[in-house]
Symmetry: C2
Subunit: 500 residues, 2 copies
């Protein structure tokens, strides 16, 4: 039996095509008007959205908890994070940094004489955002991609995730109302539903970019559509990631209990439904440590999964991993349904005795398993750890647990990690993603289809493109490029950075 | 009869596949070593290449003139420009700006507590550069894409253009020697030839990005291959552009002779073989002005074209444009061969009486015609000019010729131009492209397949991707991210820009 709020694949309701056409027209009409507002005016509108989400947090969380089972504490935190993102991205745009204003004055003495050039970045136009299923707020309707596109000056056509339809509709109503009250033109934000509608919008010439959070299979199919358009558009997809963790012998000796408890907590957090879930743990040869982690996991109860399709995908991957000839099942998880018919899963833990054996089945074991499972591999020295990192596809993160004195031996592994990941972290767990400028949430394919980050203020820059003005009449310059800098933007003038 | 130095399409010699494999292996091995050099060391190597090109300018120009017929003056200037690009991109990397170093210190008091994150951009790895045919130096072997990739820290696999094989080989030998002497690892730069080899390299997993200058057809085919790879890579293609010029009535009244002479000079410069050649002139209704431009063009002699395939493409487009039912031929150009069998062309000029008639055949008339031809359209007011700009595909440039008092009426046209082009220029001609930071050489598709510029120091940023370090041991940080900033890079620390 399936929970009615999580329809099976393909059963997603479709916004009628006549309505999609209206939304596209409105987004195209809104684009120049939303772009023409100052970054400050757009930031104020985003802050208004943040305020209304926080003011309605209790109701939003109740709806989302019913649909996703993620729990009040987690969901309340997520609303706060979502509001914080909206404010942070708007505030970042106000500094002017994402617009990259660059002014080179004329140099008639140069050979050849140089014209005056003034360059800034302008919004791409309407952006389609495919909401993610695992964060019903932070990567959904008013999530990071929406906040980034709006802060950049682009209208958003939001393709709702089928896993939390009422949460999506409730959030969207608040977003639309807050934007309208803040003076955003009609068409700045719209929500629609349906796989076919999602593809229709992606193919429409009025849409100038797309952002996506989800599976490798789904994301790649959409990336291919975006690339095959008569006019291709950028597709910022965050797809799949294995997020390996390497523990050094010294770290295990120093902080054994922390690592055992921390790893068990990290891969089961949110029922393992995080894109940054650590899927592979490289542990020094220490069979006892493997058992200690297993013991830590065993008592865990079944926890809700987001949807029937996700539970089904998890079940499939579990049987693939368990079916690998070299895999030992330490903890046998299961996918079940609770009394309301909602899918749930208990954690699974696997072990592979050696790196040699792991690499023999790397195609299987290095594929993401979305849910509370992980594989522990015992490695016999840094060369073996290097072989695993070298075999890795692109990953959002690589984590090292290290201790005093490890640095020298670790350096080559860190370089390998940098080649494979967007974020390299130390003595922590990858499941937290801080929303600050220096964040990089992305990584080589299949972690992402673009090098740029999807989390943090720099995510705004994905939705802009540069335009230069040469020898323009001052009256015809956009405000961002005027000599007197009326918008007080950070800029680079004749090679020197000026903060306003 | 065909000039032996410009073989017909398909007759391009192929570097043997065993040699291609060696070049790919060497490039992959060079990648971490070239990336590990400091920006300053790489800039010194690029400056050494610039020095050797300038020192050998006379010989290089002689070889190139024989192959392309572009003339000693133009080619000598191009060598200088090429050397300038190499130095400028290297110097830009030395500032640190392209690496976007961003440091956010930890904030344990934040809710949730924030880790320390340090982010910079790292080289993508080996880059395939497809040389352009129309600038045998500035967009070829040691041209803008090569300079940008090397300055970013990426090895270059250079697919030579078949139009100037000896120029390419001579330049490549100088580049390799100068790089080796400057301490660059073997494999930092290699030249190869052949269409099939170009595709083999593009499909190879060791290659992480590609750059291209050429036709829409060729560029799109390669873009599609790059996007369809199991691991897609960015393809920075600069394809086709119509570069319209709008002359206001006031400008024509004020500077009639300048505009007549300037336009005739710009579209025939370099036998019209510039990606920024103005292909359409929107002129106020003034039949006499049309005749004056035609008179200016008529005396022009035939000038060399780059290759037989380009001459053939020009001939085909001329007959298509002439065949449009609304087109009047003002100057009938021809494609011929000189006494050495080299293809040459004389200028062609067409007129369409009204915007209405022009738009009826816009698919034909707004397609790039690579060679010394242009279409003059007489327009009857700014709404008519707007209709043409609105119908335009993406373009590298849009140019306005304006005079005192035009600004108010022109503003909506300028906004339209910004939506369609990478560079909007005033009272000049688009054929010059200054190599400075505020340059934007690119534009919406089909002008380019990427929003980023291919000319100017900012072109370096195309070949980098961000990586963040979270709570790293100081000893394991890359030099660029160390607290004491040993490389003296521009950086943003806790939201504030610091120049070293």
């Amino acid at each position: 039996m399936t929970n009615p709020s999580t329809p099976p694949l393909g059963a997603e309701p479709e916004t009628p095509s006549v309505e999609i056409e209206t939304l596209l027209t409105q987004a195209a009409e809104a684009a120049p008007r939303w772009a023409a507002l100052t970054p400050r005016a757009r930031a104020a509108a985003l802050a208004a959205v943040a305020d209304v989400l926080e003011a309605n947090s209790e109701h939003l969380v109740a709806v989302a908890d019913q649909e996703t089972g993620l729990g009040v504490a987690r969901l309340s935190g997520e609303v706060k994070r979502t509001a914080g993102q909206l404010r942070a991205y708007g505030a970042y745009a106000v500094t002017g940094a994402p617009f990259g204003v660059t002014i080179d004055h004329a140099d008639p003495e140069a050979a050849p004489p140089r014209p005056e050039l003034r360059r800034h970045q302008v919004p791409l136009g309407p952006v389609e955002v495919f909401a993610g299923g695992n964060f019903p707020f932070a990567f959904s309707v008013a999530g990071t991609d929406t906040a980034a596109a709006l802060a950049a000056g682009c209208p958003v056509l939001l393709k709702a995730h089928p896993g939390h339809p009422r949460t999506s509709a409730t959030t969207a109503a608040l977003v639309r109302e807050a934007l309208a009250e803040a003076g955003a033109p009609l068409g700045t934000f719209a929500l629609f539903t349906g796989r076919d509608a999602g593809v229709t919008v992606l193919r429409d010439p009025r849409v100038r970019a797309a952002a996506f959070t989800g599976s490798v299979r789904g994301g790649r199919a959409l990336f291919d559509i975006a690339a095959a358009r008569p006019v291709p558009i950028p597709f910022f997809g965050e797809l799949g990631s294995i997020n390996p963790v390497v523990v050094t012998p010294a770290a295990l000796a120093d902080r054994r209990a922390d690592i055992v408890v921390g790893f068990a907590g990290s891969f089961t957090l949110g029922t393992g439904q995080f894109c940054t879930k650590p899927g592979v743990l490289l542990l020094p040869r220490d069979p006892l440590a493997v058992e200690e982690i297993a013991a830590q996991v065993r008592p865990a109860n079944a926890a809700p999964m987001l949807s029937a399709p996700i539970a089904e995908g998890y079940r499939r991957r579990l049987s693939e991993v368990a079916g690998a000839t070299r895999t030992r099942v330490l903890v046998e998880g299961a996918v079940t349904t609770d009394e309301d018919g909602r899918p749930q899963a208990s954690p699974s833990l696997f072990a592979v005795a050696t790196v040699e054996e792991f690499l023999q089945e790397a195609d299987n074991l290095l594929e993401e398993c979305f849910g509370p499972s992980a594989v522990i591999v015992q490695y016999g020295g840094k060369d073996e750890a290097a072989r695993v990192l070298d075999r890795l596809d692109g990953s959002l993160t690589v984590t090292f647990h290290t201790a005093e004195g490890d640095a020298g031996a670790l350096a080559p592994l860190v370089e390998l990690a940098q080649n494979k990941a967007g974020r390299v972290l130390f003595n922590g767990w990858p499941t937290g993603v801080a929303v600050i400028r220096a964040q990089q949430h992305g990584g080589p394919y299949p972690a992402a289809t673009s090098a740029q980050t999807s989390v943090g203020p720099y995510a705004v820059e994905r939705f802009l493109r540069p335009v230069a003005y040469q020898d323009a009449l001052p009256e015809l310059l956009p405000a961002a490029l005027r000599e007197d800098n009326p918008l007080q933007l950070v800029r680079t003038v004749d090679g020197k950075t000026e903060t306003a």
